[in-house]
């Protein structure tokens, strides 16, 4: 089985978000970049396929040279090779078109990607890739098993789960549950050493123009101070929620 795992290079979850250049650019100053957490769950699941069922894993990122450290980390975790499409990503549809070109070219059986990236939160690229290459698609996947060509999956729905069956080739957008947090892997020294030798191919984009583009950013307005209510004044709280906030 040939697996492609799409990796976003995103600010660490604890990052403070600021904008610069007249609020037209994200301020990268002091930001630590990591593998998008949703993608990391998918990469770990891919490692299980590799170890138990003999799959090969390619990791892919659409980005400029600064994202290579994140791809190297994915290689250190255990992916076999990496591809970087040399394009600054600006829009979901154009990124999906780049990924689709790689998928077609590499004939992957299974494409795994996080449900969304924690920077732009678009949540659209995996489905777009599936549609562009005409693979079956499941979003919000919390469990996947592959036997030969047949795939059993579980996806999260409002208030529960749905069990699904399908066949390869597939695009699956995963989230926590596809593996658990405790199953995530920290690269060891041997992995880091080996990652340096593994191939990282840079591919030039095929692309077309962007369908959408950010014009400017804004930060949320600062919030007013919390209104503290005394622990023995529950009536006071109920009164505020009813008459002031009007939520009960």
């Amino acid at each position: 089985m040939k697996i492609l795992v799409c990796i976003s290079h995103v600010p660490d979850t604890t990052s403070k978000i600021n904008f610069v250049e007249n609020d037209t650019k994200f301020d990268m100053n002091g930001i630590q970049f990591v593998i998008n957490p949703y993608d990391e769950f998918c990469l770990t699941r891919a490692m299980w396929f590799k170890e138990k069922q003999g799959a090969t894993i390619t990791v892919l990122n659409v980005g400029n040279t600064t994202t290579e450290s994140t791809l190297r980390k994915a290689l250190a975790i255990g992916a076999d090779d990496a591809i970087r499409v040399n394009l600054e990503p600006k829009d979901g549809l154009s990124v999906a078109k780049e990924i689709a070109a790689i998928v077609k070219n590499g004939n992957y059986d299974l494409v795994l990607a996080g449900r969304e990236s924690i920077d732009y939160n678009g949540g659209m690229v995996p489905g777009m890739v599936a549609s562009l290459v005409d693979y079956h698609f499941v979003n919000g996947c919390v469990d996947i098993e592959v036997e030969g060509n047949s795939v059993k999956l579980v996806r999260e729905i409002d208030g529960g789960n749905e069990t699904l069956s399908s066949t390869l080739p597939m695009v699956v957008a995963g989230q926590k549950g596809i593996v658990e947090e405790k199953d995530l892997r920290i690269p060891n020294m041997r992995g880091i050493m080996m990652a340096r030798q593994k191939p990282l191919q840079v591919v030039e984009p095929i692309t077309s123009k962007n369908a959408t583009e950010v014009q400017s950013y804004q930060k949320p307005l600062p919030k007013g101070a919390v209104k503290l209510v005394n622990a023995d004044d529950i009536d006071g709280l109920i009164n505020l929620l009813h008459n002031e906030a009007k939520v009960i």
Partner: protein, 321 residues
């Protein structure tokens, strides 16, 4: 030209988000000086959408779609987006719609912007405001394609009555077998419980509850408020509560009217997932808990004393209503 909305339903009844996207779509149609068309699948009473401004409802009944199928739903939306010559398509942010939207975008070669929180600020260029960086920022985004898809963030625009006299058009579709490459085998849902996605009120608790055996009062408080229950990440990681209840950056997003956090310190990842909620109440014994900075109302106190008292007083309040 028209604006098309997909009004999502479960078990034949509209979700609240369906009324929100129709309300939103109506305003966009007014901005564009055109009419609004809603598409529904397997809904019995479509007339409800007239209250919110849908002049025309295309009602599809299809026995093959007793369970959700993303590809078939996207085929239906594409078909009517084309026949109605829709230039703007408005969708909600439910789990199922997030599954459909990217497929529609590719078929129509449309620019798609999700997590939208306001009406277009400009029609030319077509500019809309969306949430980015997990609610830590907004991006004013231009869609430059001829067809545009807007995914409205839940509970961000609200439901606005705008009654029109409308018509319902029953339509049938023929869905190719190739739409059914992913088959639903089994649906497991907790029955009778309010889901986090649908809830106006969410009661959430964290490690401050000390153990899973103490969740009785959380569930009771939720029952009094008609709320969904949720929990912090450590609680679901410890196995005290099911994963489906984990809210926060890597869990479920919450955008309720009222979010009550009990014994949750408010790590930045938790706040990122819940700060789209309108009013946040924090109950925590630690006055230094970071959540107090993000909350609207707070009680510094022991949950084991405050929560039972809150249940008692709320019951009395509800009875007096």
């Amino acid at each position: 030209m028209s604006v098309l909305v997909f009004a999502d339903a479960t078990n034949g009844k509209f979700k609240k988000s369906a009324f929100e996207v129709v309300s939103y779509g109506k305003k966009v149609a007014e901005q564009l000086n055109t009419n609004l068309v809603a598409v529904t699948v397997n809904v019995s009473v479509n007339e409800e959408l007239f209250y919110y401004g849908a002049e025309k409802v295309i009602s599809v009944s299809e026995s093959k779609l007793t369970s959700f199928n993303a590809k078939a739903y996207s085929s239906i939306i594409n078909k009517f987006a084309e026949s109605e010559n829709a230039t703007v398509i408005v969708l909600d942010s439910s789990i199922d719609t997030l599954h459909i939207a990217p497929l529609v975008a590719v078929s129509l070669d449309a620019g798609y912007v999700s997590n939208v929180i306001a009406l277009p600020s400009s029609i030319s260029p077509f500019t809309i405001k969306r949430k980015v960086f997990s609610n830590k920022g907004y991006a004013n985004t231009v869609i430059s394609t001829e067809k545009k898809i807007i995914g409205v963030a839940k509970n961000s625009f609200g439901i606005h009555e705008n009654p029109v006299s409308g018509t319902v058009k029953e339509m049938s579709v023929s869905l190719p077998d190739s739409d059914f490459g992913v088959k639903s085998e089994k649906v497991e849902k907790a029955s009778g419980k309010v889901t986090i996605a649908d809830a106006d009120v969410v009661v959430s608790a964290g490690r401050g509850m000390k153990g899973p055996e103490n969740w009785g009062m959380i569930e009771e408080l939720a029952a009094v408020l008609g709320a969904a229950t949720a929990c912090s990440k450590p609680v679901s990681d410890l196995g005290w509560r099911p994963h489906g209840e984990h809210v926060g950056q890597t869990g479920k997003p919450v955008a309720s009217n009222l979010y009550i956090a009990i014994g949750i310190s408010g790590a930045i990842q938790h706040l990122a997932g819940v700060n789209a909620s309108k009013v946040k109440v924090v109950i925590n014994s630690d006055p230094e808990a970071p959540f107090f900075k993000a909350a609207d109302y707070g009680i510094i106190g022991d949950a084991f004393q405050v929560v039972p008292e809150l249940i008692k007083k709320l019951k009395a309040f509800k009875e007096a209503q």
